[in-house]
Symmetry: C2
Subunit: 335 residues, 2 copies
């Protein structure tokens, strides 16, 4: 592999000049630039990015920590991030945190030790305090999908409350008045926010959430099926069901079928997230779209702006979800 030194020799200029044409910011005369370019071409020269990083103390790498690499959600997120950085000549190092505190912290440590210029974190298990401590260290980071008041300017998140509102509002508009709710784990902010949105929508119709129609699930499929069984067993009638995410909605759909109910004939179901498989369920799941790819892209832009000084970039911090009506919600028969 040719080095900058050989290029400088062949072109008959100094190292510094070659370096200048590479980072084509500095002023070099056209003549010299051409000579250098020709020499590079001739030698098939490729700069050694490691040496560049060491000398400039910029690694041009961004660490991404997600909960999982598989699953319908994170792939979309990574897509947005990778595309944005690739175009900017930065590269992306990934690590998985598996929603466990120790693994998440370890992943962050791993990424930091890799000399990342910045981090994009999608963490669930580490504490706010940990993140606040982290913010005092040298590596800058953005938080995706998490709100920490003290770190507000580094958070990119979805308006979950609005999403919860939209879901229930849609059901209300279809004439439903008895609406069951399967929530996510209520210690998670997003689960709580979605539920608050639900309550707000109900309030607009002078309704309040019925405790007998509330079940706290786990954001997994089984949470949905167990939740539905519990709701049905409670004996309290309902004509529609809000699930705080699509996995649980899918579980509910399957359970309903197995118990002999038809959706949406017997009751409507709405999910949240609009993950890819929502389209493959039967009936196709009405849900709330979570623009996660766009949000990932925005996190990347935050980094470009804050860390690489690409000042022209505008960052949007809060995203709005919207309704995706499909086949799992129908009009209520009796209001």
């Amino acid at each position: 592999m040719a080095t900058i030194y050989q290029v400088s020799e062949l072109a008959g200029v100094s190292l510094a000049t070659v370096s200048r044409v590479m980072n084509n910011n500095a002023r070099v005369s056209d003549k010299t630039r051409d000579k250098v370019l020709v020499a590079m071409e001739q030698l098939g020269y490729r700069p050694n990015s490691i040496a560049q990083s060491l000398a400039s103390s910029r690694s041009n790498s961004i660490g991404i920590l997600v909960s999982e690499l598989h699953g319908p959600f994170y792939g979309e997120m990574l897509t947005g991030i990778e595309a944005e950085f690739r175009a900017a000549g930065k590269h992306v190092i990934i690590a998985a945190g598996h929603s466990e505190r120790a693994t998440e912290e370890e992943g962050i440590d791993f990424l930091r030790s890799r000399s990342c210029d910045a981090l994009i974190l999608h963490v669930e298990a580490v504490t706010d305090q940990y993140l606040i401590e982290l913010s005092k260290k040298e590596t800058p980071f953005v938080l995706l999908n998490r709100q920490v008041a003290a770190l507000a300017e580094r958070c990119i998140s979805l308006d979950n409350e609005l999403g919860g509102y939209l879901a229930t509002h849609h059901l209300l508009q279809q004439g439903h008045r008895h609406i069951a709710y399967i929530a996510g784990p209520m210690w998670k902010t997003d689960a709580r926010d979605r539920f608050h949105g639900h309550q707000r929508a109900l309030a607009e119709y002078q309704l309040t959430a019925d405790d007998a129609l509330f079940f706290e699930g786990d954001f997994r499929e089984t949470g949905g099926s167990k939740g539905l069984q519990w709701l049905l067993a409670s004996g309290r009638p309902f004509s529609a069901l809000v699930c705080a995410n699509d996995e649980m909605a899918s579980g509910a759909l399957t359970a309903a079928r197995e118990l002999g109910y038809e959706v949406p004939a017997n009751f409507s179901v709405i999910g949240f997230d609009n993950v890819n498989f929502a389209y493959y369920t039967y009936p196709k799941l009405s849900t709330i779209d979570y623009p996660i790819s766009a949000m990932g892209q925005m996190a990347a832009r935050w980094v470009l702006q804050q860390v690489y000084q690409q000042s022209s970039i505008v960052v949007q911090q809060v995203f709005s979800p919207h309704l995706i009506p499909r086949d799992s919600v129908a009009e209520a028969l009796h209001t």
Copy 2:
């Protein structure tokens, strides 16, 4: 950030000694080692991985090129890869190739310029010739899910022929004798291999594939729905349908429902890949499992063995698929 120099000073030893304890291979007396360890601890020292890379000419990074970051397939693959490397202290740089030749080549270039020690490639659009050329350059690579004869020792792939065989064999065992087939693009090796497996299974029952029951799809959902329509329109009766992947199977399932058919009552359907949403379709899709996560992990091991000399590792190059029977296949009514 503390440097090795400060550690050496505090511990009262030379740089070399500190470096030795870091890479704990060289022989250092226990006393000195402890002194150094204490100094490191005290300074909160973390080695600068960039400097390490430059000096040792090993970046400890592996580039991964996948077609897409989202979708049900690549996430699984990345999971296997990341876990394996993370445990080995290596890190993973990702790029997407979008199944387009130019983008794939560009991605490979990008990764190479990032000083990766090795590459794991899941490429579809670049030519064999390009890969053969690439193999002459310094960066080693493995191919996932692609067979290039000249590069056989670098290929990790699935026995697609066997998978195709298993799918059709299952149908035959259930008594089906008139089996339709929706293939992938036949220029792709895996699509062809799967079809060959189908033919072999038929041959065992003294049957041959019926041209009127064959449709070449595109591995996308629409390919499945169009394919089913075409097959139905052809008027040739069939009691079972093999789809060369799950997306197309899902498309077929949806189309069947819309056209008033019931699966598996009217005809059985089997897919291929066992992507996550196969579980969410209705009826749940019987399919052939593609152990992509394990294959990703194996690709990582190949790198660990070949590039990082971890000789204890054993690499398996060809993987076998197996049948996942679910609800979309039923016994044939009349044999």
